[in-house]
Amino acid sequence: MDDEELLKEKLIKKKVLKAKVVRNIALTVICIALGVIVSFEYKSIVQQKENEQKSASTLTEAQDRIIELSAEAEALRQSKEEAEKKLEILDNGTNEEKIEKLQEENDLLKKFAGLTDVYGQGIVITLNYADANDVSVSISASLIQSLINELKASSAQAISINGERVLAMTEVRAVNNYLAVNGISLYAPYTISVIGSPTSLESSLGVSIKPKFDSFFSTYGGSFEVKYENNIQISGYSEELVENKTNMMFDVKKSN
């Protein structure tokens, strides 16, 4: 190994080193460039999301407005039908026929309000408690509420509990060991009379409500009995009392 050879080797090493440095610098530059590109990409994605949210909120606003306006239009269509009906009655037929039509509408609404004595086909449910003065009576209040809801869902058009007519705003409330219905204290056993389509009333009870009552009575003692009857009588609610139950609200049409 002479000096010349050593020098040459050094030179080669230097060249290799230089190449390495160049390569490193190039890689660094590429990495920086990639980093910048990625961050730009990321930023634009974030911005895109923001834009999407913004336009989504304008879209939901528009949707809400459509829902609002549709409801308004629907209500107006209803009012138009009513106005047409009123005019039609006034314009057609003899005086007797006009009165007959109005009376018919009047009676339907009075019946729907639960103010007339009615009869019809349906079922009678009896809830017998092992101890009628037990707290279990009030525990069953929520079950009775579900039962009434289920009956309404399956064609019940008139319901009474121990003779108390169930109206739109009738509560079934647990108080100690009895129930309050229409503000009246009712003591067990309970007889729930229901007028409606017997077949659909029957099918609704079997699915969910009867098993619930069965398990309730197997815990607390008692029975859930259902009887089908062709002539169930249900009394109307008193008109005087219903006046007190509607004294805090005003008919929009009348107050205008």
Binding site: I12, A62, L90, N106, T116, G120, R173
Partner: protein, 261 residues
Amino acid sequence: MPADDRNKDTIEYKTKKQKIIAFSLFSMIFVCLGVFVTVQARTAIKNVEKEKQEEQATLKSYEDSIKSLEEDIAVLSGEISEMDAEYDEKMEQLASSDNDFFRILEFYNDSIAKYGFYAGTTDVTGKGIEISIDDGNPTSGTVSNFLLVHDTTLLNIVNELRASGAQAVSVNGERIVADTEILCVGTGIRVNGKKIFAPFSIKAIGNSDRLYSTFINSAVYKNIITADLLVSVIESDSVNIAGYTGFSAENVKYLYDSAEE
């Protein structure tokens, strides 16, 4: 020396070869990256444009429906006031030409309005409360089933309102009448035969202080809070509740009048 020369040549050759390989490798990587970045950017731009176009198209269709609905409402309002005016005019004529018959008609009109008011088919207003309730935020809870507003939740709220003296109640605009059901159907809840969805808005007219304090202190409200549902209650001097719109003879078809027997 020739051996050294050969050695030197081999080293130089090797470095050259390495350089070429490195160069071509880098070039290929750069070309690939370049192509990749351009394609990416292009599709991104295309997607953004496409999305924007689609959004604008939807927004435009929404705006069109809003416009046509507003027109419908204006037309309907006009028609109704025309018919009402015509009716009033005819009744006035009748009052002077056939007063007895006019009085009978007035009697029935008043009576129909009264029973409609009792039955819940008319729009009513009064003091009361408004409850909003929505499914809970899934991130705040553990069991997602726990965070949904169920039919029983709504039924319990309505029963609580009834017990605290509510005189009129509606759920998402559906008036609670004598035969109203609140029942779970698939993803929604059936009220008056119509399917409604969360968020729910429950309005009640009555003694607003009593409605408010009873509801806030009820077991139903505590359960709603425990279940992490989103709920808010406000008292208001003017709660407007629409009448039941589906009334027909069908609603009382199983009921026979005992007086007519």
